[in-house]
C-alpha cells in the first residue's frame, strides 16, 4: 500500500516568510510524528499526534512552529517568520501505535535564503 507522503519535496523561501509542510500518513495509522534533520545530525523530535490531539509538543523549538492534524489523517507543520536556522529536512512518520515502528516519508527539504 501507499507509504507516508510529504509535500512539497523541496521548498525555498525568503527569511521572514511563512511556510506550510504537509504530511499524509499511512492509512489507518493513528500516531503521527514530525522530526527535523540537519546535515550530519540525528533526528530531532518536534511533535507527536495521537489521533487529532498532540499529547507531546515538547520538541517544538519556538512559538513560530505549530502543527495540526485533522480527521486523524493529514497533518500540517507551519513555520512562521522563517529564519535561516530553520533550514533542514523535515521528516514525518506514522505508526499503528506508540510502541510500533515508525514509517517515514522522504521529507521536505526547506531552505531559507
Amino acid at each position: 500500500g501507499a507509504g507516508v507522503s510529504q509535500s512539497p519535496s523541496n521548498k525555498v523561501t525568503e527569511k521572514g516568510k511563512d511556510v506550510e509542510l504537509r504530511c499524509d500518513p499511512i492509512s489507518g495509522h493513528t500516531a503521527l510524528y514530525w522530526y527535523r534533520q540537519s546535515l550530519g545530525q540525528g533526528l530531532e523530535f518536534l511533535i507527536y499526534f495521537q489521533g487529532n490531539s498532540a499529547p507531546d509538543k515538547s520538541g517544538l523549538p519556538s512559538d513560530r512552529f505549530s502543527a495540526e492534524r485533522t480527521g486523524g489523517s493529514v497533518s500540517t507543520l507551519t513555520i512562521q517568520r522563517t529564519q535561516q536556522e530553520d533550514s533542514a529536512v523535515y521528516l514525518c512518520a506514522s505508526s499503528s501505535g506508540a510502541d510500533q515502528p515508525q514509517h517515514f516519508g522522504d521529507g521536505t527539504r526547506l531552505s531559507i535564503l
Binding site: V4, G40, Q41, G42, L43, F45, Y48, D56, S58, L91, A93, A98, D99, P101, Q102, H103, F104, G105, D106, G107
Partner: protein, 109 residues
C-alpha cells in the same frame, strides 16, 4: 539523561568484508530499540525492533543483537547496495524515540 551513541561515525569496507556497527545507550526503562537504514535524500527505512536483552533479528546480510547497554548491527559479506547511513533509536518509558547520529557505511566494490 537518556542518550544514544553510535560508532563509528563512518565505516568504509571492501565488498565481502564483514563488520559490526555499535549503538550504545542509557535510558530509563527500555521499551524497544529500533534500527533504520537511510539512503541520501530519503527518509529512514525501518529494519528491526529489539525488545529484550539477548534478542536477535536477521534480514538478508544484516543481524541485530541487543544487550542491556548496547546493540550491534552485524553486516555479513556486504555488497555495494548496503551502503547507507544506519540509524539506531531507543524508546524509553515515555515512548518518544531518542536517536543516534548514525553510522555512514560505504561498501566499495
Amino acid at each position: 539523561e537518556d542518550q544514544v551513541t553510535q560508532s563509528p561515525e563512518a565505516l568504509r569496507l571492501q565488498e565481502g568484508e564483514s563488520s559490526s556497527l555499535n549503538c550504545s545507550y542509557t535510558v530509563s526503562g527500555l521499551r524497544g530499540l529500533f534500527w533504520y537504514r537511510q539512503d541520501p535524500g530519503k527518509g529512514p527505512e525501518f529494519l528491526f525492533t529489539l525488545y529484550s536483552a539477548g534478542e536477535e533479528k536477521e534480514k538478508e546480510r544484516l543481524k541485530a543483537t541487543l544487550t542491556k547497554k548496547e546493540s550491534f548491527l552485524h553486516i555479513t559479506a556486504p555488497k555495494p547496495e548496503d551502503s547507507a547511513t544506519y540509524l539506531c533509536a531507543v524508546q524509553p518509558i515515555n515512548y518518544q524515540l531518542i536517536w543516534g547520529a548514525g553510522t555512514k557505511l560505504i561498501i566499495k566494490p
